[in-house]
């Protein structure tokens, strides 16, 4: 969908041109204010900013990815956010959806980069092993492409867990040396929107925030915007009352499962995962994984494939023991072995003392001074 040499247009112009009504536009601004967790009084400010803002140029790069974020982007709620997003943005380069190909596409990209001030959206991790040969496009490695595209960029937005943290390609043993974008880019503001895939509402909100306030939204310690990743899934989950009550699903399809009880014992990672899934939801706000009856897999946390697994177990498997061994088995084993060890020690120690006594040694000094009395002190 590259817009060929279009003159700069305001976001609102572009929207009105493509048949979005002003009413729908204001609805969009209000909804985005809500996603951003801003007080509703910001809606007019957002509307005003979008009315005047120039359409930002976007270069969408795909590296080691599953195109899930592109899917999410295209399947946004209709007729809704995604359509508006596509109209709001000047997507100069996007391998999966652009009409141009080959040299023409590369030329569009280069022109956008040369102009500068563009937004780079990255999907997928960047392989660095073997000089980056595991992902090359148009004869360039992903490392090179990323370095070129981010030069002079206004911001880098990582969509999905792979570009944010390395994701599944970077999971152990990481044969391609997959690396996250923040580890490779410097000098440009970078924000992470992890998730498998990213929720397009959060992409839109991030961009709108950027257009309205001229800066990327505030982030947490993992570079994720607080508006979308500031709250834990577990704390907004509709099954939470069942958690607090101690009502848990024990087996898939059991009565508790049919009743919608808590999925904690089925390995739900909601207590360890920060994301706005429970409130923002998916598929046009109709449902989300836990709503559909499956535990959270923790996909928006760094290294989730290595740290949130086993998917159906609550805690990681003890290293070196295999996935069926639980921390409780190891722990109880440690206590048992300690007890057995000291029992044996106690027997041996008693034998040693008895022997010493028999050999008429003075086993302990105390016996030389107050032997009779001390015997009585024993219980």
């Amino acid at each position: 969908m590259p817009v060929l040499a279009a003159p700069p247009r305001s976001v609102l112009d572009s929207l009105l041109n493509s048949g979005v009504t002003r009413r729908r536009f204001l609805e969009f601004c209000t909804a985005t204010t809500a996603v951003l967790a801003l007080p509703i009084k910001f809606a007019p400010q957002i509307a005003q900013a979008l009315e005047t803002a120039e359409k930002p140029t976007v270069i969408w790069l795909e590296f080691q990815d599953c195109a899930g974020n592109t899917e999410s982007f295209l399947r946004a709620r209709a007729p809704g956010v995604g359509d508006i997003l596509l109209d709001v943005l000047d997507v100069e380069y996007h391998e999966t959806i652009m009409a141009a190909a080959g040299d023409q596409a590369e030329a569009a990209k280069e022109a956008a980069i040369a102009k500068g001030g563009h937004i780079v959206i990255v999907e997928g991790s960047v392989p660095t092993a073997a000089n980056g040969v595991y992902c090359t496009i148009g004869g360039k490695t992903a490392v090179q492409i990323l370095a070129e595209a981010t030069m002079g960029a206004a911001a880098v937005i990582n969509t999905g867990t792979c570009s944010s943290y390395g994701g599944i390609p970077a999971a152990s043993p990481n044969p391609t040396g997959a690396t996250s974008v923040p580890d490779l880019v410097s000098g440009v503001p970078v924000i992470n929107l992890p998730g498998c895939p990213v929720n397009v509402d959060n992409v839109v909100a991030t961009i709108v925030h950027y257009l309205t306030f001229g800066a990327l939204p505030a982030v947490d310690g993992h570079g994720r915007p607080l508006f979308a990743y500031g709250e834990r899934i577990h704390d907004h989950c509709e099954r939470r009352a069942h958690f607090d009550a101690g009502q848990f699903v024990e087996e898939w399809g059991d009565e508790a499962h049919r009743k919608g009880w808590c999925l904690y014992n089925m390995g739900c990672k909601g207590p360890s995962t920060f994301h706005n899934c429970p409130t923002q939801r998916w598929n046009g706000g109709t449902s989300w994984p836990i709503g559909a009856g499956h535990g959270c897999v923790g996909c928006s946390e760094p290294d989730f494939w290595d740290t949130m697994t086993p998917i159906y177990g609550r805690l990681p498997a003890p290293p070196g023991f295999g996935v069926t061994t639980s921390v409780d088995k190891i722990g109880a084993g440690i206590v048992g072995l300690t007890a057995a060890g000291f029992a044996a020690h106690g027997i041996a120690k008693t034998v040693q003392r008895k022997r010493a006594e028999r050999a008429n040694e003075t086993p302990i000094e105390i016996e030389t001074t107050a032997a009779p009395g001390e015997e009585g002190a024993e219980r």
Binding site: G246, K269, P271, V327, G331, A332
Partner: protein, 237 residues
């Protein structure tokens, strides 16, 4: 030795008909705060372990009527956690203000004498001698194991507060948030869970050693944690 050393033959010994104890001194080794802290830690660890184990593995099946079992378990866990933290803090303070047997150098053998004492302790455990190390408080080897326990408790407190910060905002999160830049959340849970078991492993060792020394050394270790008094033949002082 210490201001608390009392001359021999206090009333209880005579009452028990223990015979001549002139050669022994009875010493108030564990002051009241030490004993109170000891039992506060013990009771809070019991409460933390029961509730913590339930949090980790909700083993009670509840009837379909809505209740608040997990909610209560977590509330008690948090309450006991702060009692526990207070007790540990108090003990740290007491390590600098208490008597010589409560001091920090009982746990970290800085002096040559303490190191020799620790070696004697090792020889006693390793069957190289049948003589327990001569000491009125902790022998230096035991002191070192308490240092390990202390490190475990400290880890447990930091991890617990970090886990608590997941559901709170502000102060806790800003002071313990760094934990999750070092360790992923599930591993923090894992370690917090494992240290519970290690603590009970320690309890086994601790009880065993207390009984062992009570029988071999006959200084009244077992009762000392209730009364504070230990007995020692004068020539071992």
């Amino acid at each position: 030795m210490s201001t608390e050393t009392t001359p021999a033959t206090p009333a209880p010994d005579a009452a028990l008909g223990l015979g001549p104890t002139l050669e022994c001194v009875t010493v108030k080794v564990w002051e009241l705060p030490v004993r109170v802290i000891h039992w506060t830690v013990f009771l809070s660890v019991v409460a933390l372990s029961i509730t913590g184990f339930y949090i980790g593995t909700p083993f009670v099946r509840v009837s379909p009527e809505p209740g608040f079992l997990m909610g209560w378990m977590r509330a008690i866990h948090n309450l006991a956690a702060f009692v526990f933290i207070a007790a540990i803090l108090a003990r740290v303070i007491w390590a600098f203000t208490g008597n010589q047997w409560a001091r920090w150098d009982q746990f970290i053998a800085v002096s040559k004498e303490r190191r020799t004492n620790g070696w004697d302790g090792f020889r006693f455990y390793a069957f190289m001698t049948s003589k327990p190390p001569a000491v009125l408080g902790h022998n230096a080897l035991a002191g070192a194991t308490y240092l390990v326990l202390f490190a475990m408790f400290l880890t447990q407190i930091v991890m617990g507060l970090a886990l608590l910060s997941l559901e709170t905002e502000g102060f806790l999160a800003s002071t313990t948030g760094w934990v999750f830049t070092v360790l992923p959340i599930p591993w923090v849970r894992f370690i917090h869970h494992l240290i519970m078991w290690l603590t009970w492993g320690f309890v086994v060792h601790h009880l065993y050693s207390a009984i062992l020394f009570d029988t071999e050394e006959k200084t009244g270790v077992l009762s000392s944690i209730f009364t504070g008094w230990k007995r020692m033949p004068v020539d071992r002082l």
